[in-house]
Amino acid sequence: MADTDTRSPARSRRTRRSKPRPETLVAYYRQMLLIRRFEERAARAYTEAKIGGYCHLNLGEEPTITGLMAALEPSDYLFTNYREHGYALARGIEARRVMAELYGRSTGVSKGWGGSMHLFDTGTRLLGGYGIVGGQLPLATGAALAISYRGGDEVVMCQMGDGTTNIGAFHESLNMAALWDLPIVYVVINNGLGMGTTVDQSSAEPELYRRAAAYRIEGARVDGTDVIAVREAAHAAIERAREEKKPFLLETTSPRLRGHSVVDPARYRTAEEKEQLKAADPLARFALELEESGVLDAEAREKLDAEVKAEVDDAAAFADDSPHPDVSTLFDYTYATPVPGESRRLPADPVF
């Protein structure tokens, strides 16, 4: 399936042999829809104060996520930034457990300790959403080093935003990955903005995949609104990483349909820009394509939507019904190997 012999695998998708099958397309659509509805539900829950902290949504990123996750094997590892609800869902984690984490409940993927930005799941090898910009890059690189050390054939995917390519950890990580021939695919989700800052304002080389050249790494850019294109590009990069033990830098482009986080009204966007964004909604476009090509008619789509909506409502209800972590567990996760003298003091407790 993979074009592992090409030097620029991500660019080779046009030469692919077979068209995806209708059920695959429908499954992808359903996944995108799940992410969409989940995020809309999360936004609502946030305004209802069910969710706290920061909450960043994947609206507009659904085809990218779906394509990337379709290409990643279950045994592969995934590190992401804080904008990762959709990744968790597409990786196969139950919507219930993801929503419960957003609600801060003990049934959440991180037992309520992480929240929206810090989803983690050992089973699906989602090794964390991270809130410090760039923080996940050295970690993911180290995970790839561990694979290489053990001679394993897993691959690490490390997702990040466009703005993240300007931080030092990007440079240090890609350099190490290239020096040490690590099986890792860095994916830059170029949504045009880091908060309110455009790519042009923050990256002196705005064609971000080109930065790979500074480490003699292969790079490519792919249209992140095209789920199949993303899947193919990611697949080629991942399989090349697996076979040849070479890192890759894949850039995907997609719109960020709303503000940076739920609370950001994005005043820095003009009314026209906001209008254009609506038209740019890749999910609507994909629905239309599927309808036009006879893969999914309006009725079937409505049915899917109802199904997905029920799933998301169930997730929210589950989260809402789930218990908060018990205060007695406050000191349970400071150390994996407990020690004498470890402080388990509440604020009013004396030292002696």
């Binding site: 706290g52 902290g53 920061y54 801060g104 409940r105 003990s106 991180s110 309520g112 300790w113 992480g114 929240g115 930005m117 810090h118 991270y130 809130g131 410090i132 910009v133 760039g134 923080g135 703005g163 993240t164 300007n166 931080i167 030092g168 880091g194 908060m195 309110g196 800052t197 304002q201 923050s202 990256s203 005043r267 820095y268 908060h324 972590p325 205060v327 567990t329 406050l330 000191f331 996760y333 400071t334 402080s343 003091r345 509440l346 604020p347 009013a348 004396p350 030292v351 002696f352």
Partner: protein, 329 residues
Amino acid sequence: MATVTYRQALRDTLRAEMLRDEDVFLMGEEIGVFEGSYKITEGLLKEFGPRRVRDTPIAEEGFVGAAIGAAMLGLRPVVEIMTINFSLLALDQIVNHAAKIYGMFGGQCSVPMVIRTPGGGGQQLGATHSQNVELFYSFIPGLKVLAPSTPAEASAMLKAAIRDDDPVLFLENLALYNTKGEVPDDVTPAEIGRAAVTREGTDITIIAYSRMAHVAAEVAEKLAADGVSAEVVDLRSLRPLDRETVVASVRRTGCAVIAEDDWLTYGIGAEIAATIQEGAFDWLDAPVRRVAMAEVPLPYSKPLELAALPSAESLVTAVRDTLAATGRR
């Protein structure tokens, strides 16, 4: 005299200083087009343009270092680091460069810059976004660290920080931005390095800074209703530390509790307690107690977070325990 928020006081002061001195300019992530993550710089890009309100890439080490370099050439950059958690990425530039350049080169070059950054937990931001690491800066000779708790102080201290020739870490707090207070029309720059007795009392001294200074004031008020007269000392400057004011107060009251938002062990309060036992040894009727954050990576979960953070209740408990330990009544 106007009643404004802490946020507004900061904004007005930045604006006034920029109008006063062309060498003053702002740098940081999202301070321009986005108008500040917490909107402290609202409207300033529009008024002063991108030369003086400079949006930076996400590169804390780089842009903080660049501000230091600009300061070495005599400009007076005021840098915003979105939250103090992200300042860890710039720590080498702050500790190994900003704090060292004056001394390491024998006094040839000063670094007149300000780093504004908020600390604060309690917003469910999780373990990496809720820390209070002002300790890291307060420990470093060559830096000055200010932590105003009211709009008037924020204004007076920010002015002083901008006009000072040394690098100043100016600690704000997420929970204070919307608090209100009176600010004089023409604020006099504060004297750097002075604590303040913000409430006089005779039974016990409560020492606090930043957000906890408010909690301390609230607790003192509550205790007064019960007939306990608590004195409140707001440290205001963490470096230099005004030991005299702290010790003088405890010599009057005979006991003390420290209220801090950071972790207890090795936290800011450790130095305050160490200072008190050394400076008021013969006056102390009970051990100095500290009320601080539980020593855990702060969880996202609301009930866990609430349990971990110091509060008025925990402070009241510590005050009552301390008074009981004095054996006075």
